[in-house]
Symmetry: D2
Subunit: 258 residues, 4 copies
């Protein structure tokens, strides 16, 4: 990707209930986007089981020695590669293919999804823990191009609903635009808000953890096409049009496979 | 007005920090609207001083013996009469004339207002206590007719911001539409939300008291025409178009002076 | 008082919804305590009416030219003088005498009080505005000496209940002792907490405004001797013994009248 | 146990984010206490693996056919049997033995504990999920008897901190005693409060989820004997003496092994 040529300084960030070296690495760049997402395996053996799956799938890229904050890692691409964008909610022209990949290769479980009347998926929320999602895929309404992946948003858990109001006040006093919220999601039942950070990426802040899933037999919650608004906004004002169309990098050209 | 012919049963409501017999009387009727607003004088002498002013102004209608929950009262009409509608935020085609009347006749003080570049007022917020407003007038964007008064909303103080979220959840679970919010006002700096009650009137719920004014020399806060959005919504999503146009009764015929 | 000899630098503080030059002046000193409390009159005429009352009462000390942030002022002492201590809740061996003075001379109104079975008062809460109290007097359980006045606490309005929790977390992380709370008062129905600031004075933080009084005929709420705990703590843990005995300056010698 | 002879009607309760038939079964009885605690296995195979472990340990009692809301189940006793008492925080004279049993036999992981200077444990918090604890053991300060197990409390997750205040207000208005809180725990960092329900059992309400543990290499947080107060109360008033001594059934006789 020849990132080094254009990359600048990096800063490593960690929230106060994060326990690793860092959870977000921000690198100076000429445009917003996603470098990579990392998942930690629960043991060396678990990592090796996953690598075996990934190699079979053809999506594996191989081992790296590690980086600041983590050891040896195995790199792979999702079927619709997210090119330079990052984090936990990704826009894709093929939600189902990505969802299946993460379930089959990495053991994610489907928690909730929105399904069109023709059976295709508008969005899928997946997790390996009691959280409703560590990873979501949403359809990209800005294009019908195949193979174009974008970052929709990175989300941080940010305390209680009151804190979203406190932050809204600070942002407003400082002239920083809030894209949406504070509002409550239908999917996950969490309170949240969205802000576009100065570099152009969307950041979501969670005002609670949403509900938690402890049931090993959990059946995914299915929302219909008609319920998509309520799935995203349980209450709160209508989302701006940008919500379904804007991701980073904000390009609409087809992805050239590497 | 021959209200009796069409009026049904009344219920008398009081919030839990209200100390009078009732603060809201709801009467069954074939359409939503406002019957009358009452103001209590701080003493018999204060009442008589106000009656003298009102008689001079030509707006006085005369004494009534009282009603359930209050004693003898003096009735009057505001210059642009609110016909059948009620409560504390009123829509009017002439904000300034109403504002001046309440200041000159009843001793209200101007706390905040939004002023167009041509000097006319879009909205005025008035009080006789440290609250930013007990009474507001807003221009009616649905008509340029003179003499048409409407109820914009009745507002209740409803606890803390979290309670607005709790209520939003209950309303949403029960399929009752929230018109706007929870959001924060610029004017008054209060957290609020708007709901249209089943009868059709708009009700506002306040999630805090807003700021309080103890300064006897208070200078009104003036917002410009360009700042009107921020005056109404300090943060939160854009207001729906209905907010500036819908009042009750929802008629657009000119008012016939009585 | 020869304060100047021992006084150090002053800082002037103002909360974000205070509109004057300052609301708290903190002066470096060798012990905690109260310098003076100021009340602003609503007009020049109101000030002169009050001065006339104070001169009649014998408590007046005379005019000063003003100070940073205010103009000409008339100084007076309360009957049990607060010597060097300050602010809005004062400990006194004679609650009733102080209460009567503020009501008779300055027009305060009694909002709530706790009365012993023998008719004497344990505490009185007074205001001139819809707030339940701008000034309170509480009996000093540490002494039966006459003439000893102390500062019990200065209170700031500090947002919503959640903010008291946020602050509690910050204080705890930094090893600063919280004396009591977050808890809810019976008197005023406000959420609050108490902290001893590093200089030794007690500071109260209010997590809401409590209820507001708009009734010109307000009858004071009377709590009995048996209800004193509930009057102070509507819910929350029992107050530490210090609460009823500690004030600043923390002396127990009798006051020498000036 | 001959429970049937003395048992009355049962009611089955479920909180609104619980998805099973019930999470709490309350049976009428002549004294408060705990009937049994159930754990669901994640699969039939997982259940069989656990049964094999339990049979080896000698703690197994055998299979039952099931009950209203669940199918076939395998019963076992913890080493210091909880006789008639129940739920998720248990008082025991031997914290370490119980902790080890749950870790060795059921795969719980130690998340936090308080350790005396002599190495013995005052309390242990255990979980199999990202929650800090689904099960805790605390030493019983009321007795040095061996073999006496009691229910300390059942805890429910109850929304946000504001809701603990709302509930406190309702309880206070209705004269129901709050044992402690709202306060914040050191262990788990959760906001909580304790109430003794009318039957005599202690119920805890959680105002947030506390922090969550996603790290497969989690090292238990160890608090020293001197930190025990802070471990239980990160901020808030001192716990009443009852907290460390009262459990149900409130007996101090030695347990007769069955």
């Amino acid at each position: 990707m020849q990132e080094t040529a254009r990359d600048g300084q990096s800063v490593y960030l960690r929230a106060y209930e994060d326990f690793y070296h860092h959870t977000l690495k921000v690198t100076e760049r000429n445009e917003p986007g996603l470098g990579h997402i990392s998942w930690r395996a629960s043991s060396k053996e678990a990592l090796e089981r996953r690598v075996k799956e990934l190699e079979k799938s053809g999506a594996g890229k191989g081992w790296i020695d590690g980086d600041l904050g983590h050891g040896a890692a195995y790199q792979f691409v999702t079927p619709v590669p997210v090119r330079r964008l990052d984090h936990v909610n990704l826009m894709s022209s093929d939600v189902t293919r990505n969802k299946n990949f993460m379930m089959d290769e990495l053991g994610f479980r489907l928690r909730e999804h929105v399904v069109r009347n023709d059976g295709s998926e508008i969005g899928s929320w997946l997790s390996v823990s009691p959280l409703v999602h560590e990873l979501a895929f949403m359809g990209d309404a800005s294009t019908s191009e195949q193979g174009l992946g974008k970052l929709h948003h990175v989300a941080f858990w940010y305390g209680f609903p009151q804190h979203l109001h406190d932050l809204s006040e600070v942002l407003t006093e400082n002239g920083i635009q809030i894209e949406a919220g504070p509002l409550k999601h239908g999917v996950s039942q969490a309170m949240c808000m969205y802000v576009i950070e100065p570099g152009g990426n969307r950041v979501e802040l969670f005002g609670d953890s949403g509900y938690l899933i402890f049931d090993p037999d959990w059946k995914p919650v299915t929302w219909t096409e008609e319920q998509v608004e309520r799935a995203i906004i349980f209450y709160g004002e209508p989302l701006p049009d940008t919500y379904f169309k804007y991701g980073t990098p904000n390009v609409q050209a087809p992805v050239v496979n590497k």
